[in-house]
Symmetry: C2
Subunit: 787 residues, 2 copies
């Protein structure tokens, strides 16, 4: 299919490119006079010049050429713009193809609309300077660099007919997440997944420095990209028409190759992993912009990164230079008298949803289907009496997830991702119904590897997160199961995703997306093999700094509550749900019905566990959140029942952490009267929390009874030791909790002093026992609820 | 120098390797009977079997062979053990070479000590299961994977005679940070820096999956590694003696090549970046361990990852198999009757500080010299009257840093790292005295690139952090300058570093290290070009969850305070210092002397800014932390002075955030009496904070006056807009602060209602003005202090 462009075709592509470049520069500079119908004056110039020109001509070039192949081949495509700083470019293209005006009718495709497009850019009350949720056709902000290629692969999964182009800046290519994303091609199934076409844009510079990949020898770069498993195709130049011809030929070559790979794989003719094509595009940074400014080279250097002419309002030379630059695109040939793009400019623009700004894949909620989740009754564990049987919560969840995998076998819209921890996190039942995606070599001893597997395992939290974000953003469902401590690796990625969701929720044209769901397990209290480096419960703190409209945090205390929470989060939309749950055997406290009711409330009294008689307020509240703290609180309640039976103890369990926030601070926040009813206004509350104790204070500091709130949690005291020693080291153990109660409840019987000593003695006994035996006290190891 | 091992030599290496393997397995399993002097019984077995066997034989092999080349060539070497999970291996080697007993005299190099070595491993009260601060010779935990190679490069910088070997597991190689660390060779100067010898250990598996690099074709792997700029040398096998021979030959080859590169570069004979050698070692996972267990293949598969025989106490077959396994190393040949390693075993072990466990580079504080910092008077800005002149704080800091660079030009023990942001962060004065490290290609238009530069710029926060950690851990000084929002990229890395420092501070034999210093700038309030995605002040919250002994947070409000803070942190030891400061023009509030006094207190009253007369407590406290909040608070104080002159306003500025914590919670915590004296016990405190407002509550919730504390800060409301609009959007602006005061101070004059309305009107005027003009109100833009 690859043949050379005619002169006419090349001219049409060039006209589109020039139009896009003109519009990109116009957005950075012009407040008025958008078509340059009069000579440029300082009044036409924005008072604050903001934006990134350097990458824009390259993005415009790629967009222009994608238009051609999409239109000529009639394909569905999505593009991930890694250098999302070049917002002006993507906005320009969206305006040219008409999707911008369709999305924002006041920005018409004419002179008035062009004026609005220019003014609003990076202008207060206008649109952000990057490719943002506001930008039609976008699923990727590109502000924080590193995630474009992972997003592209996530979008391509289970979209067998989709082409996902991905422009990767050579700056972004230096980041760790991008550097490992190249290996995502070992997980892409040419039968069930779409294709990813990476376009590595080597414009040579980042903010103020050359880039590594632009400055290694050509042969070394070629080895690197082949080493990544790609077939690199090169386009290099700074002569527009020549580059148009080369790029058109190369894109055709790449798409022919992709079509061939697909055909062969789907005909069952290939067993080996295909060598997917990619394009290396080497064009000048800030191409077609000012060559030199104030005697310094600008085009083709880092100086064109943001605003190449910085003092246009004040400096008449700069103003003249800007006018010359803008007129060099010959806007009068590109737009008619009304400011509408000419036919030539639009000759390669695709129609309808084939336009990159209109693909439903970039507004994935439009394509989302409700996830089939079988009735929880099929998986729930029977609980006749609390705290007698033990189950591994995540293992039972694995059964549910396996069923979801089974029920989506044809639809293929559910994936699990994880950094090689799915089995370690005890979800391995899913392998009964689907394999682990794997296109690299296999050996006879391998288990569960499959070309078409829907569990994605790679030892990169970044890649897992990027895949799932891309999958969610294109409308599909998933779960990221991760060691609790190491989810911090993606702190910054989840920041960006939450910001994306926050903004996209405010845009009526964006349909709600499946939530991004985390299962954090192998948590701080049970890192028996690994110790201190694997102990960090702070991800919850991290996400709770972000937009409350988006963030949800659940700490189910047992198996059935985990099932109930899982069902809820998998059905939810537009949230980031953080679920923290254990994988080790854990007492079953609640029947499925009780679990559902408890999760629906988010926090509630466990009457059976306390010693209130209902006639008056309790003397003390023992609160807990998390599986291990819940066990310790129940053990403490049990000890109090034995040793101080006259004490009225209330046990409160919190599943939904945001219920602790005031009503005005979070949609789930409890009204004060409810909080006071639950925790009392003035009784001591001993709160055993899974994570850093001050988080509870940060959530509850406005509550009436806050001065009586005493929180125990993880305080960075850990090593390789036993489970009970971990809670003792952090003063979260049952004995310490009983001591806390005795220390805080006024007017206790004298006998309480002796009870306190018994508790202190138990801790001492623990220390002696563990040093000698290396195990927990038998009374702890064999404990069960006898309330 | 490369020649084949004699039979005798190979046997000696093999004896050492077998001894190390025996000791590694012993640590995982044995509670007693360390020399197997009697048949193994269940009582000899630990009650909890913990640890990672799979990687241990490979680590032992590399250690054994490093010993040989170190000894034969008389070189100084350090090894970074990427698969640090294999703690038993590194501990085994340390015990064999005698450094363990020197460090921990109770673990003697004899049978009794061997027994202790075994029992203590992963045992409560013993040592962690990973390579940890407790491990002699270690600078890298290896628990969270991804940072080994960056640490290795950081250690090699400015250590021209050092060889830094770095074992990279093929699991770790899948992480993003590791994937980009390969490119660190473009920044290593063969003249002034040491050499890094990566050893990619392809044992084929991670926890439960094969690894990508082990399952791509050999030719593709070779292209990849050459594409990274290396010359890969391969050693593959599962026949010990053959592998010993090949590995010895290959190590010699690699070291000959390194010696050649150094010689040529130092003789001035090379201009091009050298192609450094590396080793690819392909040996079975869990090599020499049980071949099959319960009819499943174990050796050479993922099943050997942790404990290959899991039920030794309960299952007599497993016990028998363990005994066979342990005896297969023929301990009776390796240890004498007293349990001491034989001469043959030790024949290649180096002497003194050449031993990997004894190198001072792994206890870097031993080598640390005080950083020369010129008197601040040379850089300070003159302040006759507060708030009249403006300076860019980081630019002035740049002058100080340039001088530090000048004063360490010969010592070469100071580096600045940053993700291509040194100039953007306005520290570019440093380029007057040193260049940016760069060994890749150059063009005539390039500026400040230099082979021997000591500013490290790469667009990877991971690599920046890893370099600086490696540099600090080997005793040298540095600064990481980073955009505030994107420092979250290294959240998890700083977690690990803080954990490392916390533990190493508790070890008397570890000398204090230079602190890890962050300069966070281009902060949340001034992301004019980038908007919402670049706004996140939460790194402070993140680090404050960690050990208070290690963490320090400073928010200098102006130029001179930044200088004073910088001097302090650069001289400090064993901390992680987070300094948040602006790069935009900022009013000078304090003279150098005042700044020093203020920073020494960490928080204090700015008498000149308030309207107290000293005769009574103020009516209200306006508190601030951070440059922008300080400006808004002073503007608010000024408005109050004009509009409500009778109100006694106190202005408090906080530089050291941890002063807000209670005394018992942090070494810098203020005693209650001091807090009450500063903030009052019962007057309204309006606190304008740089970051998320609830952080202040989390720090101060125990204080007497907490119920009267009202905090304003960033609440995730942002876009591309003007500086003042940013504070208005987040209710941190001067007008809102005045309204807050009026809303909270009881018994104000009736006139206050009118003043409140004036403030509300000003906000309305702001909204109208900005929409029309795209700039801030002139009264705001031209504001200066007139108190």
């Amino acid at each position: 299919m690859a043949k050379d462009l005619s002169k006419h075709q090349a001219a049409a592509l060039d006209a589109h490119w020039r139009a896009a470049n003109y519009l990109a520069a116009g957005q950075i500079y012009l407040l008025d006079n958008p078509l340059l119908t009069e000579p440029l004056t300082p009044e036409h110039i924005k008072p604050r010049l903001l934006g990134h020109w350097g990458t824009s001509p390259g993005l415009n070039l790629v967009h222009t050429h994608l238009n051609r192949v999409i239109r000529e081949r009639g394909i569905d495509a999505l593009c991930v713009w890694g250098p999302g700083h070049g917002g002006p470019a993507v906005l320009a293209n969206s305006w040219l193809e008409g999707t911008y005006s369709q999305t924002y009718p006041d920005v018409t495709r004419d002179a008035a609309g062009m004026g609005r497009l220019f003014k609003q850019f990076s202008f207060p009350g206008g649109v952000p300077s990057h490719v943002a949720p506001e930008t039609p056709g976008s699923i990727h902000e590109g502000g924080e660099l590193g995630y474009s290629l992972a997003h592209a692969y996530g979008a391509a999964l289970d979209n067998p007919d989709l082409l996902v182009a991905c422009v990767i800046g050579d700056g972004e290519a230096e980041t760790g997440p991008l550097a490992t994303s190249w290996h995502a091609n070992k997980f892409l199934d040419p039968v069930h997944d779409g294709a990813v076409l990476p376009v590595l844009h080597l414009n040579g510079y980042k903010i103020a420095n050359p880039t590594v990949l632009a400055r290694i020898p050509d042969a070394e770069l070629d080895e690197l990209l082949r080493g990544y498993g790609h077939e690199p195709l090169y386009v290099t130049g700074d002569q527009p028409l020549r580059v148009h011809r080369e790029l058109a030929r190369t894109m055709d070559q790449a798409l022919d190759r992709i079509a061939h790979i697909r055909r062969e794989a789907r005909a069952g003719n290939t067993k080996d992993r295909p060598r997917w094509p990619m394009i290396v595009l080497r064009t000048p940074k800030g191409w077609t912009g000012p060559g030199t400014v104030d005697d310094e080279p600008v085009e083709g250097t880092w100086r064109s990164h943001q605003v190449p002419l910085a003092n246009v309002r004040e400096n008449p030379d700069h103003l003249r230079q800007l006018e010359t630059w803008l007129r060099s695109y010959r806007p009068e040939e590109l737009f008619d008298a009304e400011g509408r793009p000419t036919e030539q400019v639009l000759s390669y623009v695709p129609e309808g949803t084939r336009r990159l700004g209109a693909t439903p894949h970039a507004n994935g909620g439009l394509l989302t289907r409700k996830l089939p989740i079988a009735p929880l009754e099929r998986f729930a564990v029977p609980v006749d009496k609390p705290g007698t049987a033990l189950h591994e919560p995540t293992r039972v969840l694995g059964d549910l997830l396996a069923q979801v995998m089974r029920d989506t076998a044809d639809r293929r819209d559910f994936r699990i991702v994880g950094p090689d921890e799915t089995a370690s996190n005890r979800l391995e039942a899913v392998y009964d119904t689907t394999g682990k995606a794997w296109q690299a070599g296999t050996l006879a001893t391998d288990e569960h590897l499959a070309h078409d597997g829907r569990v994605m395992e790679v030892l990169s939290e970044h890649l897992c997160q990027g895949w799932l974000e891309g999958y969610n953003l294109t409308g599909r469902h998933g779960l990221f199961s991760c060691y609790e401590a190491f989810v911090h690796i993606v702190d910054s990625m989840v920041n960006q995703h939450i910001k994306w969701l926050k903004t996209s929720r405010e845009l009526s044209w964006r349909a709600p997306l499946p939530s991004l769901n985390y299962l954090l397990t192998s948590h701080v209290w049970r890192q028996d093999h690994n110790g201190f480096s694997h102990q960090d419960p702070g991800f919850v703190d991290h996400v709770l700094n972000k937009s409350p409209d988006v963030v949800r945090v659940y700490l189910p205390p047992d198996t059935n509550t985990l099932l109930s929470v899982a069902e809820h989060v998998l059905h939810s939309r537009d949230y980031v749900n953080v679920v923290v749950a254990g994988k080790q055997p854990c007492f079953d406290w609640l029947s499925l019905d009780a679990a559902r009711a408890h999760c629906a409330r988010g926090a509630g009294v466990w009457e059976w566990a306390g010693t209130e008689d209902g006639s008056r307020e309790p003397d003390v509240v023992l609160a807990c959140a998390g599986d291990v703290p819940t066990q310790e609180v129940l053990a403490a309640a049990s000890l109090l029942r034995t040793h101080l039976p006259e004490l009225a103890v209330r046990v409160v369990n919190v599943v939904d952490m945001t219920r602790l926030l005031p009503k005005g601070e979070h949609p789930h926040g409890m009204p004060d009267f409810e909080y006071d009813a639950l925790f009392t206004a003035d009784k001591p509350v001993i709160f055993a929390y899974h994570g850093y104790p001050w988080l509870i204070h940060r959530l509850a500091y406005r509550r009436t009874g806050h001065a009586h709130l005493h929180v125990r949690g993880y305080k960075e005291s850990g090593t390789t030791t036993t489970p009970f020693d971990m809670v003792v080291r952090n003063d979260l153990d049952r004995y310490r909790l009983v001591m806390d109660v005795i220390d805080r409840v006024p007017g206790l019987a004298v006998r309480a002093t002796a009870v306190r000593q018994t508790m202190a003695d138990a801790r001492t006994r623990h220390h002696a026992w563990i040093r000698e035996h290396g195990t927990d006290l038998p009374e702890v190891a064999n404990w069960s609820w006898t309330g």
